[in-house]
């Protein structure tokens, strides 16, 4: 009985220690795990894969470094997929840190020999228009004219002078939008404004916190959603380039098991002590 009382009153730092061990130890393992690709992730992959070369893809980076562990692997896989298919990429950000995260992802993807061999040129094959304040109003404004919404790219070049942007006025000239989102503004705003107002086609990568809220939009308003690190791992698998997200899956699974273990133990201790109190 005293054991369960002590269990309920355990110092939380012991719990923290278990969490650190559960997360860190699996990182040393090189085990390859079975990862099933969900239909939603496949839908996003297929939507991009079916685009003909030269199609324009708008990628909106709506996250900050706090969400990078979940979304950066998705960004990397997506860029690799787009560039390997010779798609043209326009990058924007509704969060100030977004375009910088995009640059970090581009740096990583350009180290890939297959992508490096393509000799992609800034302004012709991809552009980064940077961040603009205004949240969903930016999306609304882009629906009219992207050039007035983003008069310059992130380095100050006039948008109208970039070769890639000459053929793009608004969403009518964009073939697919991919949104990486960690909160507000994010995928919901893209659905409300770009999809429902301007009939754009949208796929999304979300943090796991946000992903459940996007399910009502699928498939009529949203092609599919990559949810959390698992979603990123699935995209890496379907693109046949397992990378960071896949390598973290063992840690993810062990940490979940530890949380479930703690919840069960906590409930067990609670019910045992409650039962003893009732009888006494």
């Amino acid at each position: 009985m005293k054991f369960f009382d002590r269990l309920l009153a355990i110092d939380r730092r012991i719990i923290f220690l278990f969490v650190i061990i559960a997360v860190t130890l699996p990182l040393f393992s090189k085990a390859t795990l079975h990862i099933e690709v969900s239909p939603m992730v496949k839908a996003v992959y297929d939507a991009v894969d079916n685009l003909p070369p030269g199609s324009k893809v708008l990628v909106s980076f709506d996250y900050d470094p706090a969400s990078a562990p979940e979304l950066q692997p998705m960004a990397l896989s997506f860029f690799r997929h787009c560039f390997s298919k010779d798609l043209k990429v326009v990058i924007i950000g509704l969060w100030p840190q977004g375009p910088v995260q995009a640059n970090i992802a581009l740096e990583d993807v350009f180290r890939d020999p297959e992508i490096k061999a393509k000799n992609l040129k800034y302004g012709v094959d991809y552009v980064n228009l940077g961040y603009m304040a205004g949240n969903e109003v930016v999306i609304q404004s882009m629906g009219s004219n992207i050039h007035t919404t983003f008069p310059a790219d992130y380095t100050g070049n006039r948008t109208s002078e970039l070769p890639l942007m000459k053929g793009i006025k608004n969403f009518d000239n964009i073939d697919f939008i991919y949104n990486l989102s960690a909160g507000y503004p994010g995928t919901m705003e893209w659905v409300q404004f770009a999809v429902d107002r301007f009939q754009a086609k949208l796929g999304a990568g979300n943090t796991a916190v946000q992903a459940p809220g996007m399910y009502p939009y699928i498939p009529e308003q949203l092609v599919g959603v990559l949810g959390g690190m698992k979603g990123g791992a699935e995209y890496e698998i379907i693109a046949k380039r397992p990378a960071r997200a896949v390598s973290y899956m063992l840690s993810q699974g062990v940490s979940h098991a530890v949380i479930i273990f703690f919840i069960i133990i906590g409930n067990l201790a609670f019910f045992v002590t409650r039962g003893k109190k009732k009888t006494s």
Binding site: L33, E36, P65, V138, P212, I259
Partner: protein
């Protein structure tokens, strides 16, 4: 007039934007573009307002030597530590390019601090789950079971625990089914409820019935 003019502005801007949805032609499309452009500029200045306020509070703390004034000084110094290189030593508008001092500070100071702050949540979610997550009644038990199925089904461990079962009963399949059907139904109900609430609040704001955003006198 201090309270009436803002209410009139809100009403005119709100109604114009509603009309522009149904009549996307001159002059409403031009007015829509004008108001949305102004919104973006004012939003940027609102952020700057918050930053200036933060500096004012920190400097006040340092000047009056209040409790924790040293950390107020650290806030101010850290602010200028990134602003000065950002404005003067990072190539002007290309300040976010990899290789600039601004990018270095972003990559080696800002990213680790922000990432670790949020990573702490993992510990607190574990501790809070252990202490507070109790199956006290049927509803709480349903919540718990749904969480267990999703947590195990969405990681590869779920496959290894249940691969011996027929595919329809494996953890991953059950988790997907929970997400696609009952979870979506609940989310949809919440979403519709919130949407109706927002519609009524927006209408109240546009009609001037809701004035809390104006503040004092």
């Amino acid at each position: 007039m201090r309270r009436e003019v803002p209410l009139i502005i809100t009403g005119i801007v709100g109604i114009t934007l509603i009309i522009s949805y149904f009549i996307p032609h001159t002059p409403f499309n031009l007015l829509q573009d004008l108001f949305t452009d102004w919104y973006q500029i004012v939003a940027a200045f609102a952020i700057i307002l918050g930053i200036l306020n933060l500096l004012r509070i920190s400097l006040d703390k340092v000047y009056k030597k209040k409790k924790g004034w040293f950390f107020g000084l650290v806030v101010v110094l850290s602010f200028f530590f990134i602003v000065i290189p950002g404005f003067f030593f990072s190539g002007g508008r290309g300040f976010q390019n990899p290789g600039t001092p601004f990018f270095w500070i972003y990559f080696y100071i800002y990213i680790p601090l922000m990432s670790t702050m949020f990573a702490l949540l993992a510990f607190f979610v574990a501790s809070a789950s252990y202490r507070a997550f109790r199956a006290r009644n049927k509803e709480a038990t349903m919540l718990l079971l749904a969480a267990f199925f999703v947590m195990l089904g969405r990681v590869p461990i779920g496959y290894y625990l249940s691969s011996w079962l027929p595919e329809s009963y494996q953890l991953a399949t059950v988790a997907d089914w929970i997400m696609n059907f009952p979870q979506t139904a609940g989310q949809r109900a919440i979403m519709i409820g919130i949407a109706l609430g927002i519609v009524s609040s927006s209408l109240r704001v546009i009609l001037g019935l809701e004035r809390a955003y104006i503040g004092g006198e």
